[in-house]
Structure formats: structure tokens, C-alpha cells
Symmetry: C2
Amino acid sequence: MATATSSSLTAACAPSLSAHSSASSASEHLTCSSPFAKFSGLKLVSSSSTASHFFQHQNQHNKRSHGSRKAQCVRASTVDLVSVVEKSINAIRFLSIDCVEKANSGHPGLPMGCAPMGHILYDEIMKYNPKNPYWFNRDRFVLSAGHGCMLQYALFHLAGYDSVKEEDLKQFRQWKSSTPGHPENFETPGVEVTTGPLGQGICNAVGLALAEKHLAARYNKPDATIVDHYTYCIVGDGCNMEGVSNEACSLAGHWGLGKLIVFYDDNHISIDGDTAIAFTENVDQRFEALGWHVIWVKEGNTDYDAIREAIAKAKEETERPTLIKVTTTIGYGSPNKANTYSVHGSALGAKEVDATRKNLNWSHEPFCVPEDVKGHWSRHVKLGAQHEAKWQADLAAYEKKYPQEAAEFKSLISGEFPAGWAEALPKYTPESAGDATRNLSQACLNALAKVLPGLLGGSADLASSNMTLLKMFGDFQKDTPTERNLRFGVREHGMGAICNGIALHGSGLIPYCATFFVFTDYMRGAMRISALSEAGVIYVMTHDSIGLGEDGPTHQPIEHLASFRAMPNMLMLRPADGNETAGAYKVAVENRKRPSTLALSRQKLPQLAGTSIEGVEKGGYIISDNSTGNKPDLIIFGTGSELEIACKAADVIKKEGKTVRVVSLVCWELFEEQSAEYKESVIPAGVSARVSVEAGSTFGWNKYLGYKGKAVGIDHFGASAPAGILYKEFGITVENVVAKAKEVM
Amino acid sequence: MATATSSSLTAACAPSLSAHSSASSASEHLTCSSPFAKFSGLKLVSSSSTASHFFQHQNQHNKRSHGSRKAQCVRASTVDLVSVVEKSINAIRFLSIDCVEKANSGHPGLPMGCAPMGHILYDEIMKYNPKNPYWFNRDRFVLSAGHGCMLQYALFHLAGYDSVKEEDLKQFRQWKSSTPGHPENFETPGVEVTTGPLGQGICNAVGLALAEKHLAARYNKPDATIVDHYTYCIVGDGCNMEGVSNEACSLAGHWGLGKLIVFYDDNHISIDGDTAIAFTENVDQRFEALGWHVIWVKEGNTDYDAIREAIAKAKEETERPTLIKVTTTIGYGSPNKANTYSVHGSALGAKEVDATRKNLNWSHEPFCVPEDVKGHWSRHVKLGAQHEAKWQADLAAYEKKYPQEAAEFKSLISGEFPAGWAEALPKYTPESAGDATRNLSQACLNALAKVLPGLLGGSADLASSNMTLLKMFGDFQKDTPTERNLRFGVREHGMGAICNGIALHGSGLIPYCATFFVFTDYMRGAMRISALSEAGVIYVMTHDSIGLGEDGPTHQPIEHLASFRAMPNMLMLRPADGNETAGAYKVAVENRKRPSTLALSRQKLPQLAGTSIEGVEKGGYIISDNSTGNKPDLIIFGTGSELEIACKAADVIKKEGKTVRVVSLVCWELFEEQSAEYKESVIPAGVSARVSVEAGSTFGWNKYLGYKGKAVGIDHFGASAPAGILYKEFGITVENVVAKAKEVM
């Protein structure tokens, strides 16, 4: 079925074999992005020429016939490109083998199988500047099968990235190296996103491609293009088994992300052995069902032309994303371990390394890159600078014609916020009408969208419950890509991972996404990657407690606040009213290198006296206190919807002649970052009578309650009933807080 | 594409219209499972008869032509079945409408659209015993689109389940009712699994079907069948968007679960409106790619015969699971709200209820079931008893022929464990060879599999890392269904949800599943449902800390222990050595109503003095103490791989003349359940000098550390480097524990 429906490649080139002698100089290639550029692009000419030799490969395993074609842009006619390509591909394989061997840890199998597509991408196809890996208009590449990161490091090394020099290769998987065991964007310039947990990378790639499509639609003009790049990705069988990839790929098809080109490393081996034991679906057909253009390269180890031609065809297809299934051999070249799971995640071992060297006729020392390979790749530094310079010139020309758009675009991609943006946040007094924080959140989002051109986002099919629609914008869709409301469907995990890609596009976009707070359980994999990879995604999580009522325990978060408070680099914010919601957004927007999760109520809440944006920025602060000095009889902590209960309980106790302080602990992480003096000023060590109230797990509250304090919370699952009854039955009441307070005072 | 490849139904029946007059008595139907039974099964005869009238439906919306056929088993020839079916379907619709209206909360849209398939399933197709919802050999039904639970409650009510009487319907979504807002297996006998979070139910259904296939293969004989049921499921657009459903459905196709029949309520509406905004993939084609048999019922609101015929065809297909796409109208019957998102999750409102009553010609009072409908359904109580009695007779006959198998089978489905099973658990002394707890876990699994016939499970493509293979068994595969190693592929979330289905099959199966601990982030949605729905799944989670080393921070859990300790009804166990691993398994096996998560090391650990199975059963216990009385100078807490560090630090401090107690807090939940006396005996309130050591987040440790104690842990992400270096750099060392101890003593 797949074979019949895929675009099966019938190669149209049969060049004669011809050898060339001397190494090319970088300058010889400068006016052409690569010696294969025109081939790699769209223009293929059928007459033969010397250049056609470049597309010949000598590997005897390749039995396929070839037609002839002409590459029009070649000046380096003196280099034996056929040979150097083969050597370069083997250099990638052996750098990978050698690094894993030295570390005695790692995954050589994928780089050995994917070296051809890696080489073709980085040497012939992609636009990038190795000396400025953050150049805006670069083509993006994501190794979704992140365990094969040596592929990427080897390519960076060859291409001249400063992040991976020879000494870095030798430090593969070592403490503080720039070559960690999986690709980490925060460790290795050139790595776009953190991958490793399978399936995340392809979703990030969807986000990167979405960002490109959106910005291109917003800023490009018929006579001036300033946003124009492809997003490439390599996925393995593992990524394709993960549900999260199906979610994002369904959206990629729906959105028509025609500049997303994904290579599927179809090697039939996963850690447990042959994929036949667990993965017999028809992947091609599934991707076609998702609206993708599917191409099959049947011999991905050696048929480089087929890979090139597939890329050309993928670029011709502008309406649909393309999956290029490349059938490869894991551990290609290893005579005894290729095509087995043993080469997936372990060093080959000295004996097998030797055998592989012999088999691939590789006589070079470990870590050695042959001079002709070095010479061949050396042009990329200059070429990259030229790409960037050309783009800067284009941008300057654009600026002359479209100064206003250019100003916005430049500001956006610089990551700056427009001056005074935070003034747009709504302000409230205790007299303002009460409202659910999910509605107050919508007011913030809509206010911010007017002043922050990078803000865009949406919900996993709960826009009308999460209150996340930007009213002044339409939906981002295939044919309306300038719009800023994203419709993710019921795909929480894919949503989060796509937002990571948008955030890490590095173009000033500020993605937010939304669902019910309890369904963070579905997307925690992506949320942790936000935190780890410094992606400032804003997670708008409504229906944040039993306060949602009748939908019952599957929909009522209990342990979720605690679970995110425990997660490094995640800001967990639970605002109580309008001012705190505004404060939460101020924090979330400003934190571009860490994600924020906003827990918001379904139910209506009053505007409280004492809340403030500034308070939220400190994470914890005094809402009210009728004591003098810094020694009230009691401290009551509250967050979110229960801050009202804390205030009311305080009023009851105050009436009995006690001094009571109410503290909002809206964001524990921010509070912990305050000075010791500030923290002592809010929670004096000398006050041991403390009570907390929060409609969630009490787990973790001991930190602030000290040895004597008591927590009012819920350490069991919720139930289906009206919210008011649940609060009462579960003891999240003023009466209970007062009772607990009396126990500790 | 879908239309061409789906089994498009061409109806072959065109019975003449004939009315019947009186209500059927239950006894008239007793020898036949339902008036439609033969039709609903496989035997269709083409000649016409009175019975063929039963398959006629009068709805004028149905424009499709019909052939003629004969149902062979009908005695209730005097009832107007055509009319009563129509009435019954409308009764389901109006019970749903009325309950949602009374609660002013709920989801009427799905039950109104799915009433026909619901009616046909519960009245004509399924084998069940309403007075014993736990009868082993019942057909299973899962409403994956759980928000539509009124469909299920209405059907239970009509069928005579004691769990849903009229007063229960009137308590829909109220405190302590048996009709909560989403289906909860622990609230409502008859509900097989807890659904609500979209996508879970279909995965549970895959698990139920797997359990049936496995047990049927193990116990049925050519001349005696004791395990034989179908698993039916209704999914909506939302379930089909969720990645988790793709994971499980890919496995269902791979495993050839031919007795799984899934109805896709294709109504084109989700909460955000028309699914065209986010869901334009070709679902039929995707399921075909997953190896499913796909049938399309084009008019699911009214073409009941097409639904019946689809089920018959689904039953004919024994090699592949079947997806019956039933195109319906959400809120069918509501003149102004049908086919809109407004009918998805809100009460219709009094005015629209009236309009719908008029439109469907429904003159009955709210909650009223017409007498003829009651009469029609009344046979199910007796019929169900007959089904069960027949099965009991079959089982008795089986027992005579196969006493040994029968004994095992009966013991298994009773949930009993074989006497002395726990004796099989390995025991260790400090002199025993040290090992990684993942390897010690494998020893337990393999020892237990010999004595526990219900134990089966596997890994998400990490069997050789998680060490989860049962060596005496092969792989459960399509053609080897008796085997007990499950190969889940890289599908963590689907794996967990499938295991919930296996556990809740109620047949004594004890499912375990495995991945790296950090990837619980991918499957937390399913793990929470295990905890909520009392599914005793064993989660075998290896590589439980930075101790995994070079794979780096994406693979190193930090906050995960805390996040599960905060989750209600989840046992989070982190054993330190062989005895504690055995103890963890003893606890996990015995807890059939709550899941256990075992955090296990990748790295080798010593066998410690003082550890024991009995200690683990108490959750926390004293490993060593050189004090007399109950007042050591210091308590050091440790878990898992860091218990060794705790012991070594204690040794250092003891040498300085202090008394030190080491406490293993292997399972906080179990420890909290001990008596106050026991807890005080382990952690005396009078000892304030306390230190904990655990290679994970310190979040939550304050609970045991009191006001003065200090935690040694990791509150940031890990890094890629050899494990030993990470322990040193992150301060998880004997030296650091000793230093902290001196600070607090």
C-alpha cells in the first residue's frame, strides 16, 4: 500500500564515472551555496556534463540505474567530488564511532546509517552560518532521534561551528563539554532544540516551521523576502511510534507546512530488536492520511542521488509537509553489528571498530578528518557569512521600502519588548467586579496581544473554556497564516512540544497554550523540555482545582501544583484575582528563558485588597496584617482561589483580638529567589503559628509551615458534585482554616 | 481515499413495514439473547419473514434502500419492535437531556447522537448480566468519550442495573451519587473503566481485548470455551486526535485484536466548533494504516440497520480490530442546537428541551420511560442471568475435563494468589553480590512469573535496559497470544493505559510495564488513572536518577519522586537493594487496588545490612542505629541508591562518638499509614538533628526533616557525564551528608 501510494523515486541520472584531482578552495564555491546547489534545488537539466559526475557515487552496493542530469553551478571542477563526498560521509561515520568509543558510551548506529542524509543536508542543501549559529534566516535542523547526536556534532565539526572543535569531540558525553549525550540547545550553539525524549523533536520542528510560515506571511512582501527558511528533521522508528509525533504531524498536515521536510530513518531496528515485534503499521500510509507528501528512498545508505532528488521533490511540494522515508541500515559499515540493536546504544568495541575501518576502507586515525574532506567543507564558513550578509542586505532594502514593518520585525527578532508594554496589563481595585481568573487571564492575553507582536497561541480544543482566544485575530490556518490564534485540537502533548519549537525559533515569538490544569499530565513531557531547554512557553491552565465541580476527579487537579513546584526552572503561578493574574502575565512574558504555568480558576473570585503585580513578581508577599512589627500571632498562607478563604479566616480570627498576617504564595520559585531579608520580612522565623490553605495536595507545604504549622488541603482525589459542596465536604472552608489556626496558635 | 478503501456498506435488506401491537413479555425472549440476536450475529438469511420487519425503521430521514433478510429467532412477534426501538432510542436521548437539565451541568450532545448505537449494543448485541455487572465472561463496553456518560447511565437504567435507578439519574453529577460527571468504575458497577480524559478509554479497551485474547488462548480448549467476549468502545473526535489513542490502536492492529470493535462517533464537532479547524486528517485511512478493518456507517442517527450490519461485519473479521465510523449529528433532535458545539457540554435549556420534545414527538414527562420501552428492556435481567448460568455450566463442564486448568483459571479470576507465592521472592544477605536494582527487579519478576499465573507485562522498547523480560516466556503476539512478554514499542502513554485495561479486566491479571523513570512524564495521564480507578498496575521504572550518567538531563529524573509522592493512591517505592526490591514487589503485587511505581537504579548497588521485605511493607524503617533508647544524636534518611551513602555517612559520624540512626524511607505512602506509635519509634519527635539524602528534588522532604533538618538532593536539572562525576559535582556524597549532619547536630 505504501509503495503504491508513495512517490517512488525513479532515478533519472546515469552519469559516467570520472575522477578529479585537487582539493577545492573555498573561494571557488562562493557564488554557489554548494557544488550541488542547483541539483539540490529545483532546476534539473537532462543533458550530461562534467558536473553530472558529482552525482555519481561509486558504492558497489547501489544497484539502481541512473539517468543523466546537469548541475549548472559548479566551478570547483578540479576536485574529485564523488570521492570526497564518500569520504566525508565516512568521516561522519568514524567521528561518531570514535567519539562513542572514547566515551565508551553513546549511540553509533544512527550516525552510521544517517551519515549520507546528514552530509547532503549540511554540505549541499542547508543555508546556515557556522560562525553565527543564531543567524535569523538559517535553515533549521532538528535531530528528533536525539540519541544519534554524534551525527550532529560531526557535521558541526566539519562545517566549522566553534561549538564542536576536535577537543570537544574528544569530550563527548563528559562533564561540562559542549557535546553532551543528547542534543541540548543550551549547551551547543547550532543545536536548535533539546531532543532525546523520542517524539519531541519532530513536534519542535513543526513549531519551527509554523513560526517560519507565520512570520513569512506577516512580514514578507511581494517584492521583498526577509523570512525564508526550511525546517529539516530526522526522525527514527521510535519517534514515529510516539503518539505525540502523530499529534503534531496531524497538525502539520492540517496547517500545510510545506517547508517542513522530515527524513524518516527507516532502519527497522529499535532497542528491543526488529521493529517487527511492535511496529508493523504502514507509516507511509499513516502520513498520507495526515495530509503529508511521502517519498521513499529505498537505499538510503548509498543512493545519495535518490536522497538529493527526494529533497528536490520535497521542495517542489509547497502545500504539504514532506516525509522522506529513507531506508537505511543501522550501524552501516560494521560487518558484524550493522542491522542489529547492539549497535544502537553501545560502543562498537575495539575489535569491531577495526573491522568497520577495514570494511569501509578507512585508514585514518581516530578523530582524523582527511585533508580533502576538510578542504571540501572549509567553504562553509565563508559561504555562511555570505548567506548572512545577503540577508542583511535584503533586510536593509526591505527597511527602506517598509520602514514600519522592518522596525517591528527587527524589534521582534531581537527579543525586545515594546517600551511600556506592561502598562497594557489591566489593574483592579477591591471594588472591581469579581471574575474567574480564567476570564481575567483572557483580559490580559487580549491586552498584551495588542502591544506584543510576538504573542500567539491557543488551546487544545478548550478555547472557550480556557478563555484563550485573541479577539482581534482570526485563526492561524493553512491559508490564513498571519493570524495568531492557534487551534491545536485535542492534542495537549503535541501542543506543548510545538510551542517549544515556536519559542526556540528565536524570533521573539511568545507562544502560549492552554488546557485544563489536570491535563498537564498529558503534556508533562513537553513542559519539562520547556523548563530544561529554556523555552519561555506560557502554559495557561484553567479549571485548576475541585472548583471546577461536576466534571469530577478525572478533571480535578490535586497533586499538580506540587508536581510543578518540584520541577526545576518552571515558574508555577497561581494568581488569586485580577491584579495577581496581571502579575502572573508580567512574570510569564518577561521570563523568556523559563516557562510559566498559570493555574487559573473556573469559578468566579472577588478582587482582593492588597494584591499587586509587584507582589507577584516577588512570588510571595503580605496581603494584609493587623500587627505591628514583624511578629503577628498567626500567618495564613493562601494561593489562587483560596486566598479569599485565607483573608476571610483572618478576619474571623482578628475579631477575636489576634494579629494575623495573610501571605499570598503565588509563585514559590520566585519567592525562593528573594533575599533572605525579604523572605524573613514576609515569613518571620519567630512566628511558628502558621496555616496554609490551598485546594490541592498539601505535599511540599511543610517547607513554609515549619514544625508546628498545619495545612488545609486535599490529599485524595476529588469527586463529581457542585464546587461549593466539594469545598465544604473536603474542608476547604473558612471554618476549617480558623479551627486549624486555633490548634497552632 | 477513505471512502474507496473502507468497507462501505451496501444494505441488503428492504423489509416491508409492519406494525405490531402489544408489549413483549420478558419470558418470550428467554431462549434468544435478543429479538435481533441472529441478525446481530452472523447468520443472515435472505428470504423475507415477519421478523424482517424488526429491521425496518421508520425514520423518514433515512433514504437508503434495503434488501430483505430473515431473523431466525423471534418469538415476540406481537410487539411493535420497530416502534419500541425508536422509542427506546428516544428514551435514551431524553433521559440524557433531562438529567443534564436537572443538574444544569453535563454533556447531552453525545448521548443524543449515539443513542442508536448505544441501544443496539445494549439491547441487541452485548452479553451481560445487569444483576452481576462483574460476571467474568460479559462483553466489555468502554465509553472512551466519557463526557457522554449519560448514554451509559441511561442504558444501565433501561437494562436493569441496580447502580442506576431513577433516583440515581436524578442525582446525576451530585455528591456521592452513582452517576458522576464522567464514568468512574469505582462508583458505578457496570462501568468497566474510568474515562473522561480523552483517549484513555480506547487504550483501556485495547487492554481489555488483549486480556480476553490472552486468557482465551491460555484456557479455552477445542472442545470447551470459557473465555469468549467482545470489547466494544465508543470514541469521539477528541479521542482520535489524542496521540495516546494512536499508540494503542497501532498495537491493537499489530496484535490482531479481532474482537475489539470500536465505534467512532464521527460528528465533526468538538468543543471549539467544527473539527475542520484542527482535524482534517483522513481518520479511516490512518486506521487502515494501523492494520484495522474500517467500516463507515454514513447515517448513524437513523440507519439502525447499517449499524447492525456493521457490527455483523466486524464480528466476521477475526484477524483485525474494527473501526466502525458512524457519522452522527451531535445533539440529534435538538432543532436549534444540533450539530453545534453548544450542545456538547451544556444543558439545552428549558426552551430548547421543549423544542426537542416537539421535534422528536416525545410527550413523556422528564425521567419517564414509556411502559413499552420498559417492557422491551425488562427481559435483560433474566437473559443476563441465563448468560451467566450458561457460562457457569460451561465452566463446570470444562472443570470436569480439565480440572487442573480449571483450578488455575478459577483461582486466577477470583483474584486469589497461590499460597506461599511470596516465598518465591529472592532473599539477600550483605554478603550477596551487589547489583543494580533493575537487575534485582528482573530476578523478582522472573521468580514471581513462575508462581503468579496472572503476571504479564513488558517495556516501551527498553526491555533490555529495564530488565523486564520473563525468560521462561515468549512474546505475546498476534499468533502467540498465550505468551506473557508484552512488546509495547516506544509508546509509554499507550502502554500505561493498556495496562489499566488489563488490570481492570477483573480476571486476576497483574500487568507491569516499564520505561526509564523520567519518561513517566509521557505516561502520567495513564498513571493517574491507575491511581484513581484502583488499577493495580506495576510501573517498573529504571534509570531512576543522575546515576544513569551520560545520557544527560533529558534522561535524568529529578522531580519525579516528589511528583508521584504527591499523587493520591500511588505507591512510590524506591528500593535500595535486593531485599528492598523484593519487598517492593511484595507490596506491588498485593496492592491490587492501587498502582505501584518502582524507581530502580541503572547502577550497581551493594546489598545492605538491615534491609528487609518487612521493612518495605512499613514504608519506612530503621536500617541501623548505634544508640540505646529512642534518641540518637542524628537521623539520616535515605532511599534507593542513596541509602548506601546514608549508611556510609553514619559510619563516619559514629566514629566521632555520636549515635546515628539510618532510616530507609522506601515508600512514604506506606509509612504514613503506620500507627503513630510506629512512626514515632522510627522518627522520634525529640530528635531534631536530621539529614536526608536522595539523588532527586528535595521538594517534600521538609515533612520528615522538621524545622532543623537539611536535605541533600538536586534541585536543578542533571547533566551528561559519567555517573560518579555527577554524584560528586552535585554533592550527593558521603562528605556532603556528613557536613550537613554536623550543621544540624
